[in-house]
Amino acid sequence: MTILATVAATADPVAARSQMGLSLAWHIILACFGVGLPGLVLFAEWRGIRTGDPVYRLLARRWARALGLLFAVGAVSGTILSIEMGVLWSGLMSRWGQVIGLPFAIEGIAFFIEAIFLGIYLYGWDRLSPRVHLAAGVPIFAAGIASAFFVVCANAWMNAPAGYTIVHGRLVGVDPLAAMFNAATGPETVHMILAALMVTGFGTASVYGVAMLRGRRDRYHRLGMLIPLTGGALLTVPQIVAGDWAARMVATDQPTKLAAMEGLSRTTRGAPESIGGWYSGGQLHWALRIPDGLSMLARLNPHASIQGLDATPAADRPPLVTLVHLSFDTMVGIGFGLLALGLWLALWWWRRQDFPGSRWFLRAVAVSGVATVVAMELGWITTEVGRQPWIVYRVMKVANAVNPEPGIQYGFWAVVAIYAILTVVTIAVLRHLTRAVPVPTEPQDADVESYQVT
């Protein structure tokens, strides 16, 4: 295999990177609901079967209807990603495709399971017995989590490449399992799966939070808010632990990315934790600094030395340090904000067995959905932009991976146009779905049975 990328000067990494970033950032939102929503639907359906309560049963059906729409759009937006891996990053794939291929191949199986059982689950709602139907939903949830795991394994490999042998520039040996389970796999996959579940939890809760602010305080809306909100709030705790794990992994394996995340220009003993600020002229300005904080967090030792950006040759540093630093800080800030929201709910529940009556609580719930999506997107910006200029960390540069054929930028504009339309239409149709059949204040069995899932 000596097919090396012979990239001509015509290659256009900027258009290719923008196209990849846009389609990934779009797909990942839908993918999060694809991972999390089946869990929510199954929970509501299970409660509905156990209690016969029409509120749970109606919630299950209405969430399932949204799931059908989101899944379809998510699946097709994932397809273009697979094609873009080759169309944009042919150099990467012809050289490294086989090394990261195994998780993708297994992910393919997981996609099949997801799509097959989703068809059975949604279209079989009134054909299967309740128990069989509930059981048919379980593989969707399991396969969704599995696909998130496998695809993030591939991304982890780009951050912490392992499991291959190069002799004289030729790839002679591959250990697919070592490549799949690399140093970044653990923290990245756990952090991402939790993020997907949190996006679903807070995202769904925020829809009902808005409805409550508009005056709908019936049991349907209470449960619609409290079930996903409780789930999301509970997961925030392990998510922060996982984020800390990820940060420590980055500190050991990707010191340049850590330096960019912290805006740390020079290698420092007892490095401060910097919050906010602006990086320019080789320095971080106007940041709030907690003395020794970074050394403490990254190495559990206030005097530890942390590598700064100056340790890396200028050509190998990420160009957008401010973006990486602020993205990271905002993600962490939102993480703690969500934790505070969860604590607020827990405290009230403990004292009063109810959620806080204040409108401020509902407002916080209403924005928590968008905030969680923002945190998730910013986490990805931290990871991906912080890795620049490498596509495979310290192994292959983005410029050597891109497809050299002319005209790639037109593809980018076509993708921008389609995604702009798709964004508007998806939101409009989702709004239509929630309004076309209004929710009665006290749903009866007839309301449940007449609601079509597909």
């Binding site: 944009l88 495709g97 195994l102 054929e405 593809g411």
Partner: protein, 344 residues
Amino acid sequence: MTLANVLAVIMWVGVTAYALFGGADFGAGFWDLVAGRAEAGAARRTLIEHSIGPVWEANHVWLIFILVVMWTGFPGLFGAVASTLWIPLTVAALGVIGRGSAFAFRKSVTARWQRRAFGAAFAASSVITPFFLGAAAGGVAAGRVPPGVGQGNAVTSWWNPVSVLTGALAVIVCAYLAAVYLTADARRTGDARLVGQFRACALGAGAVAGLIAAVGLAVLHAEAPTLAHGLANRALPLVVVSGVAGLAALIVLFLRRFLIARTAAAVAVGAVVWAWALAEYPYLLAGRLTIAAAAATHSVLLATSISLLAGAVLLIPSLTWLYVIFQREPRRNVAAPERTPAGG
């Protein structure tokens, strides 16, 4: 058989399945496009929606399956094909997005103009996607994709006689398969007029497909002599099988034996797909890149083959269940001319 050949066969099974199942879903979109004005075409559109609704997402995964098996097992092939053919592949990807999302949106809205707009997007992209995928395949078949990254011509690699013909053939074959499958589905609704319409569509599309295939052979002879040679020799038995099955399908369709027609049509199309592979063997890129040369390292081939075969143990019963549930049980509501979407 070498491991590389095993993985090549697995990939080709994926191509066949995508052609037979995914292809029929695109074809259904083609018939949606030509079903006529809203009232007249309502029954046909409803049947199409009911037939492909539960299965299209699963059928669509075959495309992803082909891509990941290709980049894992034959990374050099993937790099060469995807870089040179980036234009048709990007258009096809956008078509996939349009098709899938418009189909899902149409089911979710009620206003007539919205259903029409989404229906049009669904139907148009159902034609665009197979055309460009077919044109890309034609470029590979015609030997227009050299090995290496971005070595071919970004335009003539897919805008040439063989590609255009293959693209057209792909569209019409999809339409043919869909019409044959839908005729049998229509019979279950008990609507004789619907059966007659789809039967006529199937007969017409089958005849056109046969015609284009015949012209295609002549064009191949001039444009892709090695492939034509392979088809005339090593792959001849499969070409014959395809022709016989194609004719048989038309005859049994005429005789109204719709379930047999399904099988015959699938055999006719599947045989062409395998004839192509056999005619090119052992090359992946005509005359330039063999299966052995493009293959990944042994450990990757082994791990991937084992994973996929293990996956098949899960997939085959699941897929069977999916198809059986929606084939065997009586369909309610199907014949209702304009379904009232539930909103939701």
